[in-house]
C-alpha cells in the first residue's frame, strides 16, 4: 500500500475506474447510485479487484449488496484502508 493514501486519492481512483467502466464523468458524485451510472455487479467485482491490487483492501461478495452509491464504495474502501 502506498504510504500516503488519502480519501481523496481513493475517490479519484474509484471515479477513474467507473469512467473506464463507461460512466459519464459529469455524472460522478458521491451520491450517484451505481444503478443510475449503469455500473453493474460485474463492474463492482472488477472495482473490488482494482482496490485489492492498489490498496490491499478486500471487498467481499457479501459487501456488494451494501454498495448503492459511489460514496458507499469510497467510504468502505477508505475505512478498510485505515484512512
Amino acid at each position: 500500500m502506498p504510504e500516503t493514501v488519502t480519501r481523496e486519492a481513493i475517490q479519484t481512483r474509484v471515479y477513474g475506474a467507473l469512467e473506464e467502466f463507461g460512466a459519464e464523468p459529469t455524472d460522478l458524485a458521491p451520491e450517484a447510485t451505481f444503478e443510475a451510472l449503469d455500473v453493474d455487479s460485474l463492474d463492482l467485482v472488477e472495482l473490488g479487484q482494482i482496490v485489492q491490487e492498489e490498496y490491499g483492501v478486500e471487498l467481499k461478495g457479501e459487501d456488494m449488496p451494501k454498495l448503492k452509491t459511489v460514496g458507499d464504495a469510497v467510504d468502505m474502501i477508505a475505512e478498510r484502508a485505515g484512512v
Binding site: D40, L42, E46, Q49
Partner: protein, 240 residues
C-alpha cells in the same frame, strides 16, 4: 492474424492438440499448454502459424496466472478464447477410489478449469469479447461405472459452464461445453474399442479428436455469439 490469443489447456495431444490446430486454422495465435510432454506440445505449436507451448499443471493453484501471463506477454494480447481441456483419469469403482484418485481428478478437471476461467474473465470482460469452451464428457450425464471421480468433475464443469455463462453473457462473453463420447485418444487407448463399447454407439465407431475440435472451433467462433450456457454432445448418438 487476430488480436489477442487462444489458450488450450492440455494441448499436447488428443482433443487438445486437435483443438489447438483448429483454432490456429481459424486465425488465432494459440498457446498450447501442457503438463509433462514438452516434445509433443512443441510439435503442435510448431505446426501452427503462431503457436507457443507453455508448461503448467492446472491442478497447481498458481499455474493459471503463470500460464496466462506468459501467453499474454508472448502472443501479444489477452486470451480471448479459452479451452479448458486438460483432463486426467484415475478409474476405479467408487469403493476403491483413494483420496488421491478423487482429488487429482477433481483438481485438474474441475478446479483447474475454474481457476483458468476466473483468470480469463477479467480481460474478456474488459474486451467485451470472450469465448470459453469447457471439455466435459458424456459421463457427466450418464453412468459409467469406474469413473465416479471423473463423472463428478465433468458434471461440476457443466454446472460451472451454465452459471458462469449467465453471469457474463451481457458482456458478449460466452461459456459453453462440449461433451465428447467415445473418442479415440491416448486416454481411451486402454479400452477395448473393437467390440462391446462400440455396440452402444449408433455411429458404430469411435469419434476422432478432430470431430470434437470442429465443435469447439464453432463454439469459439464469432458466429456462435448467441450460443451460451449450452452443452454440445459429440458422441455418435450414444446418448440419443
Amino acid at each position: 492474424m487476430r488480436e489477442g490469443c487462444a489458450l488450450v489447456t492440455g494441448g499436447s495431444r488428443g482433443i487438445g492438440a486437435a483443438t489447438a490446430r483448429a483454432l490456429g486454422e481459424a486465425g488465432w495465435p494459440v498457446a498450447v499448454n501442457y503438463r509433462s510432454d514438452a516434445d509433443a506440445a512443441e510439435a503442435v505449436a510448431a505446426e501452427l502459424d503462431c503457436g507457443l507451448a507453455i508448461q503448467g499443471d492446472v491442478s497447481d493453484p498458481a499455474a493459471a496466472d503463470a500460464i496466462f501471463t506468459r501467453a499474454e506477454e508472448e502472443l501479444g494480447g489477452p486470451v480471448l478464447v479459452l479451452v479448458n481441456n486438460a483432463g486426467v483419469t484415475a478409474d476405479n469403482l467408487a469403493m476403491g477410489l483413494t483420496d488421491d484418485d478423487w482429488d487429482s481428478v477433481v483438481d485438474t478437471n474441475l478446479s483447474g478449469a475454474f481457476r483458468c476461467t476466473r483468470r480469463a474473465l477479467r480481460r474478456m470482460l474488459r474486451a467485451r469479447y470472450g469465448r470459453i469452451v469447457n471439455v466435459a464428457s458424456v459421463v457427466a450425464m450418464k453412468a459409467n461405472p469406474g469413473q465416479a471421480n471423473y463423472a463428478a468433475a465433468k458434471a461440476g464443469l457443466i454446472g460451472m459452464t451454465k452459471t458462469v455463462a449467465a453471469e457474463v453473457a451481457r458482456r458478449n462473453v460466452t461459456v459453453n461445453a462440449v461433451a465428447p463420447g467415445f473418442i479415440a485418444t491416448d486416454m481411451t487407448a486402454d479400452l477395448d474399442a473393437s467390440n462391446a463399447l462400440l455396440e452402444h454407439v449408433p455411429a458404430r465407431r469411435a469419434g476422432t479428436p478432430e470431430e470434437v475440435a470442429a465443435c469447439v472451433r464453432f463454439l469459439a467462433s464469432e458466429e456462435a455469439a448467441y450460443v451460451t450456457g449450452t452443452i454440445l454432445t459429440v458422441d455418435g448418438g450414444l446418448s440419443a
